[in-house]
Structures are given as structure tokens and as C-alpha cells.
């Protein structure tokens, strides 16, 4: 019989991290839920329609993201692949998204696959220049743009969430190394 005294506590790798370096702020967003969307081959239009009716916004083009009225961010990673990033504490993010999309889109829970860090401040781009190979000049990487890249040997997804604000996602197993890489970059420029 199940032992009802046994309880599981949630402990994402960077939970609660929130540090300020001069006018740069680095934070691990709380309860960041991520669900991947895959558009079925040959039924893409129905999938896009389902996404539009679920979130009230069109699925953006690859390399772009868009935010729904409720604050869910759709990030298009490829022709048939996107992420929904939203705030949700319980471990049922995939079910929530699948329920909205009514079986028109394949969904996979990615919440625990990733670790997220929000970097903001006037010199955020200068700090990222030390590890991020892609061009983050606003002319080349505008607000809501998204890109897969590699930082310090770690695969990463970078999204510009504001003029001087970025959301960085990398693998949760190497969260400590990723945080160290970002912190080092900030320390080296402040």
C-alpha cells in the first residue's frame, strides 16, 4: 500500500536565483513552464488555427516569438516546431496546453528539460557578447526575436524580451555551468 507520509518537493536547479550586478539583473523566472508544439505533417493549417484560437495570436514565423494577452509566449523554432512558454507551477503544463489545442498539435512537456535565466539591464548585450556568437544588435535581433545558439559549449535558446532584456534557456542538467558562464560574462564587463 502507498505510504502516504512520502512527499515529493519540487526543486528546479536554479530556483530562487535572483542577483543584481550594478544595473544588470539576472533572475531565474519562477514557475516557468515550457511545452513544445509539433505541427502534424499535412495538417499544419488546422494546427495553426487551433493555436490561434487557443492563444488569440498567430503562430509567429521561425526565429520569431509572440506573446498572447494572457502572457504565454509562442516561440517558433522551425517549420514544424514551436514552444509555448508560460507561467505555471504544477507539473501538468503539457496537459493544459494539449487541452487547449484539442489534439490538433503534438505536445511534449519541456518544462524540466530547460533552465531559464532572465537577463536585463542597459549592458545586457555587452555581457552576452562574451558568450553568445549571434549578433544581438537591435537591427539584427529585434524584440521578440529568438535564436538557437551555443554559449560556452552549451546549447541555448535566446529570446529578446525587451530593448535590454533577454530570456536565456539552456539544458537543466547543466544549469550550474550555464549560470556560471553568464555570471562570469557579467563580472567580466562590470
Amino acid at each position: 500500500m502507498p505510504d502516504l507520509t512520502l512527499t515529493l518537493t519540487s526543486a528546479p536547479p536554479l530556483a530562487g536565483y535572483d542577483t543584481t550586478f550594478g544595473n544588470l539583473s539576472l533572475t531565474a523566472p519562477a514557475d516557468l513552464a515550457i511545452v513544445s508544439l509539433a505541427l502534424p505533417l499535412g495538417a499544419e493549417d488546422a494546427a495553426k488555427k487551433a493555436i490561434k484560437s487557443a492563444y488569440g495570436i498567430d503562430l509567429p514565423d521561425p526565429g520569431k516569438s509572440a506573446v498572447s494577452k494572457e502572457g504565454a509566449r509562442l516561440v517558433r523554432l522551425g517549420l514544424d516546431m514551436a514552444l509555448v512558454i508560460f507561467t505555471h507551477a504544477t507539473p501538468d503544463a503539457e496537459r493544459v496546453v494539449a487541452g487547449k489545442l484539442k489534439g490538433k498539435v503534438y505536445t511534449t512537456d519541456q518544462t524540466d528539460v530547460w533552465t531559464g535565466l532572465s537577463l536585463s539591464g542597459p549592458r545586457a548585450r555587452v555581457a552576452l557578447e562574451r558568450i553568445c556568437p549571434i549578433d544581438l544588435h537591435p537591427d539584427a535581433f529585434a524584440e521578440n526575436d529568438a535564436a538557437r545558439t551555443v554559449m560556452e559549449h552549451l546549447g541555448a535558446l535566446i529570446i529578446r524580451t525587451g530593448p535590454d532584456a533577454f530570456l536565456l534557456l539552456s539544458a537543466s542538467s547543466s544549469a550550474g555551468s550555464f549560470l556560471h558562464a553568464i555570471e562570469t560574462s557579467i563580472e567580466n564587463i562590470t
Binding site: 502534424p40 507539473p91 558568450i131 562570469t184 567580466n188
Partner: protein
């Protein structure tokens, strides 16, 4: 020491005094000085000893091309050898020591090698130290290394920090001299994103060293004005102290920024940054390097390049001497004489190799035409020169100009070949430039100021117009073209004394001639035979005069003789900068399992598996070594229950209407019939039929599968699946995403595994053997509602499950499983026990799937379905791959049970000689089996499946061991599989 050579002029801050130490002497200098200019200001001409002959040497140049004035900078762990005094920015408290002498700089005991020079000519080492061969490593090489060489390392860890960076621009301008500034200004005003990089700490290039005017103001002032305008532009990035050292593919350039080298203390910040600059277009405005003329004893301290003398005079307010003669083959050398005279320095003579009228008026100087300098006197500093006509002129400095070489280096980094221009007696960039690059100014052969400015501006405009920008209407800066005619005069033939070409590697005119006589006439041979241009300065001042002399010997022209290839880096890049932050613990990222913290708190020893850190075993007090721990973990698991974090296995989420068909084509065995709620073992082959990776795939629902891969191949398999999906079968509706990090997965193995899990899994999920048999899978909940996945699979051979929870619960889950298992003495086990148990069970792993073995070898030949096509299926059936006498995976046990088996041993039939001809196969994996009480092994041996009971020898020549082993089934434990189905 006083600054006796400091005269009133220059761009140093005379109001501020800096103290620095050279060897044991404290001296003074000013902000804006280089170490070289400060040494010269203090009258220090002797700066170091030469590489091979320990000749006294001084300062030849005023830039990064310096071959002689190499010093050791700073002390202790910060000590850095071989820094060029001409590029070291002076700071208060700087300490520098001279290099390459035994005893003091003034009385170098090794100077005796100079007397031996007749024996030490080109090719000396090749000829002399050939015999006896054994002496090379033990005697010759250590002795030569000790006597030749440059500075020394501290032999301590480098305490400095380094970083890397990525910069992007429309136009990269390389060099901030007149043409570079004109180029950056044009592009900047047009709105392009510009990076202007210059190796100097003060932009302006030669404008800082000359008295030339632009737009009616001194060139240095014009440069400062332009720099101020550029600095105010948002779209322009000015990178001083930054050397662009290499031109790489697709407009990418390597650059080294020296951030804190000019400070006494880096303040914990990176000392240097290695930049990768991505440019859409580039303009190379790297200027030109002056070359010397070779004549007898032309290496004495006090003999300098004429342009360098001007730089010290005009930029630093330092005169390198008070009786300065000029020896030139061109008009430009005359400007040194004129500038010296204008500053009140006595110029006794201008010696021009050309028999031509003076291009400039130099008050007080004799013009001696059509002669050369044949010899000099003064061991530690020049005292007099002797001319070809026999005249002796007392001097304390000789300024030499042999003309200027455009700095074409970066144009050659992608195999471009420079072309010769007779009118300037120099190589200029050829047509095959790195894509996106254009060249302007002196680097392109426009050696005069007005031409350099115009070309810089026009080239930048052309470059940015290609990118869609409209050139700004900026007037070209006004300047004059100074006289610049010169003669192809390379060395003074009349000299009988050694005439130095490559001063850093001590290569003389005689060496080049000897190289010619001995048949090493191609430039690449000349370089390697004489070591010309192979020192840290890469022969910047030496190569062209040496080529000219080789051309003379062969009777060819210089362009026919050709040049050696210029390769990156343009100037030396410290290894620390190349390494960046990737040092020590930061050499690479680490991946931690979800239960890492629990494992750490519970005494785990960790092992690196790729980037992962995995618990290897959990030592308990009293255990004498790792074997005690591992034996206990295995025994406890087999007797009751053990728990292992297996999160590192790759997990790939596969969805789509065609996912089943996709898997059927990926795995060599059939997957079409896998039912929902079931798991199947699968083997993947490479295209050539060799076994690639194995694992299990679970069908979670109609169109949803979860694949596991080996830890090592997790990324490779994912990539391979993506390739198959996108390129091989784009018509299939299949979607992949990695979930490796998303789920914390634990193996729960042993006869009490089910009992333990019943306490964790919520009651509504029936996990009885009937409801959830071997190879079942499903979604469950644990601990009152937390989602989980349960797989009934076994790597250990026991009744076993793998249970996965979202990774955020992983650390807690390990604790929960241990808590629930307390009544069964549940034991955490690490990768060693995992490995022991899989060997006992006869499961293949990385050692068996080594890229050489087939399904047939692994005893899984019948798994390769011939009823369908799958990757590798066809080629796996090639006759050679399915021979009857192929090696087969079997088990081995020592005949003498006390013997210890060794992986890597090769099997030889009894009585046969242990040779490759008689090789029957090899041992892949071994372990001490606590279950059996002796060493066991897995291995491949020819026809192994038909030879059970046979005794062969396991020979290991590396370890010098040979033991007799019996061929047995690979399944040492529970061969019928009753336990795992219990």
C-alpha cells in the same frame, strides 16, 4: 638614471612621471611611453641578447615588428617572456628584465657562442647532431635548448583571467592609420556599423610619428579629431590595443584585445579578450613596415630603422642618439634626417646608396652619395660607421631605411599571393583576397599620405555601397604626397663582416648564400634550412631583403623567387587567450543528474561520463576500497532491492501518425507490432550494417513513443533520427524532441522492487505481475498525484523497473525511494555496480558496441528483420559480415577461479604461439562477480557460440599476463530470465 635623451616634443604626458625597473635599475618615463621609448629616453641602448650567438642587441623598430628588444615582463606567476618592448605600454611600477644571457646582460657568459659562429652557420644542427643518434634526446637537445632560446616561463599557473567575445559589424577597418581613419569616418558617417581595430594604444598610426599635415593641422591632431568624432558615433566601435591577427572564412576575423596589460593590476578583470569579429565587409589598412639594409655588423645597439627613429623623436619626444647618421636607399630616409635636424639633433651625414641629388635640405648634414655602410664599431652600442669609400664617421645612432613593405599578411591568410610592384620595390596584395576584404593605403602600396587618405575613403565607400549604404559626401582630407622614390638596394656587397637579415633568429646574408650553394633555393626550403622568418616576429623586417639576396644568387627576379606563405597569427597570441575561460573546472560544462545533491550527501564518488557526473559507488564507513562498496551494492540489489539514477540515458519523445513506421525503419528489429503500453528492446545499425546503438522504446499511446538511447550516444542518435526524418523520409509524419533532462529516471531493481514501488505509486495503479508484466510501460502517479512514468525493464537481470518523474522532483524522489525501501534495506548503487550486474547478465554495452561489431557478432543476428527494410539491414547481410566463423559474444571464466581477467586480452588457442596470426578474438568487459565469487568476462571469439566449454588462453602482452579461461554462456546469472519476469 635621468632621461638624458628626452627632448621637448611628442605626445607623452610630461607632467606625470612613471617609475619602472629594467633589470636592477629604476628609471623614469611618462604616460604615453612604450617601454622602448622610455628605455631610449634613459639612454639604455643595450636591451637583450640574440637568440643564437648571444650578440648584444638594442631596439630596431617602434612597433610590433620588433625582432630584438624582447623582454621578460613582470615577475612571479605574472612573468611573461618575449614581450616586445616596442609595444609594451609603460605603467608605474613596471618591471622588465632582459633575456637570453647567463650572467648579466653586459657580460653574458654565453657570448662565447659568437666566437664559434663560423661553425654555427645554416644547417649546422642538421649536419652536426645526427650522430650518434641516441645522443640527440639525452645530450644535444637539452644543451641546445638551454643555450639558445628566449625568455623563461614562471612554471606557475597563469593567475590572469582571459575571455572571449563575439563582435559583429558591417565594415571592419583593420588599422587606424590615415587610411583606416579615413575609411572608418566615411563608413561611420554613412551609418554603417563599423569596427575600427588598431594594435596601438593611440590610434593614428604613422600620423603620430610624422610631422606631416592634414587639412592644415598636424597629422596627429587630425587623427585625434577623427577619433573623437568616431567615438561619439553609436554605430562605430573603436577597439584600440586590439590586433586583428587572422582572416578566416566568411568574413570572420580573429582579434586579440589587450585590456589590462597597460595597468599595474588587472583588478580581477580579463587581461586579454580573444574576439571573433563577424564582418560583412573589411578594409585592410594595416600600413607598411620599414625594412633594413644588410651590411657588416648591422645589428649593433643604436642601429635602428629610420622610421622608428622618427617615431621616437616625434611621438615620444626621445632622440635615440645625439650624433645620428642616416643610411638610406630612398627619399623617406631623408625625412628622418630632416626631422632630427629640426629638433636640434646633429646629423653628421646622410648616406644615400643612390648617386642622386638630395630630395630634402638637412641643415648641418653631409650628403654622401652612391656609397654604403660597410661596417660598424661598438660592441654594446654603435660608436662609428665605416663607409664603402673608407670614411669613418663617429655616431651614437644610425638610422637605416631600405624602403617600406606593405603589410599584406592578412590578405594571404586564405592562400592569396602578393604581387610585386617595381615602382615601389615591394609586394602588394594580389587579386585573390579573402572574400569581402579590400585593401587601402600603405598596405595596398599607396605609400604617401594624400594617396592613403583618398584610397581609404574611396575603398570604404565602395565596400559599404555593396551593402546598400549611400556614401556620405565627405571631402577627402587634404594632404600632400611626400617624396617616396627608392632604389632596389638590399645589401652592401662590399661587406665582409656578418650582415644580419633576421635579427631574431640570427640569420645572415652568408647563411642565405650558403643555403643557395647547398641547393636549398626555393623560398620554403630557404626558410626551413636557415630558420629565416621562423621566430616570433615571423621575419617582418627580414623576409624581403633575404628573398632579394636569394634572387640575386639564382639570377631570378624577386617575384620569380616568390614569398613564403603568411599564416595567422599576425603577431603572437598568448595560449592563455586562446584558452579563454576554459581552464581547470571551467574547461567544460558539467551535467548533473537530478539526484546529484542526494548522492553528494550520501557519500557518492563521482565519475565523468561525457559531460555527466554520475555516482560511481557509495562508500560506507569501514569499506577498504571501491570493490568493497561495489560488491556490497551488487549483493544487496540481487538479494533485496537497489536504486540507481539512470537519468543520463538519452530520452527522445517521438510523436506522429507514422512514428511506428519510422521506428521500424530505424531499428533493425520489428517495431510495427509493438502494442500500446509495451516496451521493446531495439538495436540500430549503421548504414554499413555495423551495430550502432541500442536501447528500449516504449509505446505510450497510439502515436506517441519514448525512445531511450545509451548515455554516450544520446546526442548522436537524436541527430541521426532528425537526419532520417528530415532528409530520408520527409513524407512521414514524425516529430522528435529530446526529453533527456526533463525526467529523473531511477532503476529500482531486485526481488523487492515491486514491494518498494507499491509504497510510492498511488493505489489506483495496479503494478502486479499480471497487470504490469515484464516489458510493460505506462503513466502512473506517485506520492499522491505527481505524474510519473513506469517501465518494467531490467538491465541487471533482476525484477526491475525504471520510474521517471519530472526532473524537478528527482532529488526528492531519490530520498522517497530510499525511505520507502528502508524496510527492505534498499541500497543506492552507482555505475560500477550497474556495470557488474550487466556483465553478470551478459548485456552488451559500449565495450561490445564498439563500432566494429555486428548484430551477428553480438549473437543478435536473427533480430535483423528481413521482412522489412531498415537502416543497415541490407549491408549487414554481406557475406563477410555473416561468416560462420565470425567472432561471437560469449562469456569467459578463469579456469583457476582465483585468476583475475583483464579486458583487452586476446584469445589464443592452447599450444599456439601468441601472435596476431593466431588471434581468435578479445575480451571486452570484465568484472569481479560477487554473485559467483570470481572474475568473469565478456568477449568476442571466433565461433564462440559453438565452443562452450572449450579452454583457451587469454593473453595480454601489455600487462605481461596470460591465463587460461573457459568459454561459457554470456548469461552468468539467471540464464532463463525467471527473475526479471517474477
Amino acid at each position: 638614471m635621468s632621461q638624458k635623451n628626452r627632448i621637448a616634443a611628442g605626445q607623452v604626458d610630461r607632467a606625470t612621471e612613471l617609475s619602472f625597473r629594467f633589470n636592477d635599475t629604476w628609471m623614469k618615463g611618462h604616460p604615453g611611453d612604450t617601454l622602448a621609448s622610455a628605455l631610449l629616453a634613459n639612454g639604455q641602448r643595450l636591451v637583450g641578447r640574440s637568440f643564437k650567438y648571444h650578440r648584444p642587441r638594442g631596439i630596431l623598430t617602434a612597433g610590433s615588428e620588433e625582432p630584438n628588444a624582447l623582454v621578460q615582463l613582470r615577475s612571479g606567476a605574472h612573468q611573461e617572456p618575449n614581450t616586445r618592448a616596442t609595444t609594451v605600454e609603460l605603467f608605474d611600477g613596471l618591471t622588465a628584465t632582459s633575456q637570453n644571457h647567463r650572467g648579466s646582460l653586459e657580460f653574458d657568459l654565453m657570448a662565447v657562442t659568437d666566437l664559434l659562429s663560423p661553425f654555427l652557420s645554416a644547417g649546422f644542427y642538421y649536419k652536426t647532431f645526427m650522430w650518434p643518434r641516441a645522443f640527440w634526446e639525452k645530450l644535444y637537445e637539452p644543451v641546445i635548448r638551454a643555450s639558445a632560446g628566449l625568455g623563461s616561463l614562471s612554471m606557475k599557473d597563469d593567475p590572469d583571467r582571459y575571455d572571449k567575445g563575439f563582435a559583429h559589424c558591417d565594415l571592419l577597418v583593420i588599422g587606424a592609420g590615415p587610411s583606416g581613419l579615413a575609411a572608418a569616418l566615411a563608413a561611420g558617417r554613412a551609418g554603417a556599423r563599423v569596427i575600427l581595430a588598431d594594435e596601438d594604444f593611440r590610434p593614428g598610426g604613422r600620423l603620430n610619428a610624422e610631422t606631416l599635415e592634414i587639412d592644415g593641422m598636424p597629422g596627429a591632431d587630425w587623427a585625434a579629431g577623427v577619433v573623437a568624432e568616431l567615438a561619439a558615433m553609436d554605430n562605430v566601435r573603436l577597439m584600440t590595443r586590439t590586433t586583428v591577427y587572422g582572416a578566416y572564412d566568411h568574413g570572420t576575423y580573429g582579434a586579440l584585445e589587450r585590456c589590462t596589460d597597460h595597468l599595474a593590476d588587472a583588478g580581477g578583470k580579463p587581461r586579454q579578450i580573444l574576439w571573433r569579429i563577424y564582418s560583412k565587409r573589411a578594409v585592410l589598412t594595416a600600413g607598411a613596415t620599414e625594412r633594413p639594409i644588410a651590411f657588416g655588423n648591422n645589428d649593433r645597439p643604436g642601429i635602428m630603422l629610420a622610421g622608428a627613429v622618427r617615431a621616437y623623436l616625434n611621438r615620444y619626444g626621445v632622440t635615440p642618439g645625439h650624433e645620428v647618421a642616416v643610411f638610406t636607399n630612398n627619399d623617406d630616409g631623408w625625412r628622418t634626417a630632416a626631422d632630427l635636424a629640426a629638433r636640434g639633433v646633429h646629423v653628421p651625414a646622410v648616406i644615400d646608396s643612390r648617386d642622386a641629388p638630395a630630395p630634402l635640405d638637412v641643415p648641418g648634414a653631409r650628403h654622401i652619395r652612391g656609397v654604403g655602410v660597410v661596417d660598424t664599431v661598438g660592441r654594446k652600442g654603435i660608436k662609428s660607421i665605416t663607409l664603402t669609400d673608407g670614411q669613418v664617421i663617429p655616431v651614437d645612432c644610425l638610422a637605416v631605411s631600405g624602403g617600406w613593405n606593405p603589410n599584406v599578411h592578412l590578405t594571404c591568410h586564405q592562400r592569396g599571393r602578393p604581387v610585386w610592384r617595381d615602382d615601389i620595390n615591394a609586394f602588394v596584395p594580389g587579386d585573390a583576397l579573402p572574400p569581402g576584404m579590400a585593401v587601402a593605403g600603405a598596405a595596398n602600396g599607396a605609400l604617401t599620405l594624400a594617396a592613403a587618405l583618398a584610397e581609404g575613403q574611396a575603398t570604404a565607400n565602395a565596400q559599404i555601397e555593396q551593402l546598400g549604404f549611400t556614401a556620405s559626401h565627405t571631402a577627402t582630407p587634404r594632404a600632400e604626397d611626400e617624396p617616396h622614390r627608392g632604389a632596389a638596394f638590399w645589401h652592401v656587397r662590399e661587406s665582409t663582416k656578418r650582415a644580419w637579415l633576421d635579427q631574431q633568429n640570427d640569420v645572415t646574408v652568408k647563411d642565405v648564400k650558403q643555403s643557395y650553394r647547398e641547393g636549398f633555393r626555393a623560398v620554403e626550403h630557404l626558410k626551413r634550412y636557415t630558420t629565416l622568418g621562423m621566430a616570433t616576429d615571423q621575419g617582418k623586417t627580414a623576409n624581403i631583403p633575404a628573398l632579394a639576396i636569394m634572387a640575386e644568387c639564382t639570377g631570378k627576379t624577386i617575384p620569380e623567387t616568390g614569398t613564403t606563405i603568411f599564416r595567422p597569427p599576425y603577431t603572437p597570441v598568448p595560449l592563455g587567450a586562446l584558452g579563454g575561460r576554459s581552464r581547470g573546472r571551467d574547461f567544460r560544462p558539467y551535467r548533473l543528474t537530478p539526484s546529484h545533491q542526494w548522492a553528494k550527501e550520501n557519500g557518492a564518488t563521482f565519475v565523468e561520463v561525457g559531460n555527466w557526473l554520475r555516482a560511481q559507488w557509495y562508500a560506507r564507513p569501514g569499506e577498504q576500497g571501491w570493490r568493497d562498496s561495489v560488491d556490497r551494492e551488487v549483493t544487496a540489489t540481487r538479494n533485496s532491492v537497489g536504486i540507481c539514477d539512470v537519468t543520463t540515458l538519452g530520452k527522445i519523445d517521438i510523436q506522429g501518425r507514422d512514428a511506428g513506421e519510422f521506428l521500424n525503419r530505424i531499428y533493425c528489429n520489428g517495431f510495427a507490432t509493438l502494442a500500446v503500453g509495451k516496451v521493446r528492446y531495439g538495436l540500430m545499425l549503421r548504414e554499413d550494417g555495423i551495430a550502432y546503438d541500442d536501447g528500449t522504446t516504449a509505446r505510450m499511446s497510439e502515436n506517441h513513443y519514448v525512445m531511450t538511447t545509451t548515455t554516450a550516444n544520446a546526442v548522436l542518435v537524436f541527430r541521426r533520427l532528425e537526419f532520417a526524418r528530415q532528409c530520408l523520409w520527409p513524407d512521414l509524419d514524425v516529430h522528435l524532441i529530446s526529453t533527456t533532462d526533463g525526467w529523473a529516471q531511477f532503476a529500482v531493481a531486485g526481488p523487492n522492487a515491486r514491494n518498494l514501488l507499491r509504497k510510492v505509486i498511488d493505489a489506483e495503479h495496479d503494478i502486479s505481475n499480471e497487470a504490469f508484466p515484464f516489458m510493460a510501460c505506462g503513466e502512473v502517479t506517485v506520492c499522491s498525484g505527481t505524474p510519473a512514468r513506469l517501465f518494467r525493464i531490467s538491465f541487471s537481470g533482476e525484477l526491475a523497473y525504471e520510474i521517471a518523474v519530472p526532473a524537478r522532483y528527482g532529488n526528492a524522489m531519490m530520498g522517497v525511494l530510499m525511505q520507502a525501501g528502508a524496510e527492505y534495506d534498499a541500497t543506492p548503487y552507482g555505475t560500477e555496480a550497474l556495470s557488474v550486474m550487466r556483465i553478470e547478465k551478459g548485456h552488451a554495452a559500449g565495450n561490445e558496441l564498439n563500432g566494429q561489431t555486428t548484430a551477428h557478432n553480438l549473437g543478435m543476428g536473427r533480430m535483423v528483420s528481413q521482412k522489412k527494410d531498415s537502416i543497415g539491414a541490407v549491408l549487414s547481410q554481406r557475406p563477410e559480415m555473416i561468416r560462420d566463423d565470425a567472432i561471437k559474444l560469449v562469456g569467459f571464466r578463469p579456469v583457476n577461479r582465483a585468476d583475475k581477467l583483464a579486458a583487452g586480452s586476446h584469445f589464443i588457442t592452447r599450444g599456439d604461439k601468441a601472435s596476431m596470426d593466431n588471434d581468435q578474438g578479445w575480451m571486452t568487459s570484465v568484472a569481479y562477480s560477487p554473485s559467483l565469487g570470481h572474475s568473469i568476462g565478456l568477449g568476442f571469439i571466433k565461433r564462440g557460440d559453438q565452443r562452450q566449454g572449450e579452454i583457451v588462453r587469454a593473453v595480454n602482452p601489455l600487462m605481461g599476463s596470460e591465463i587460461e579461461v573457459e568459454i561459457v554462456s554470456a548469461h552468468f546469472i539467471d540464464p532463463e530470465g525467471e527473475r526479471l519476469r517474477a
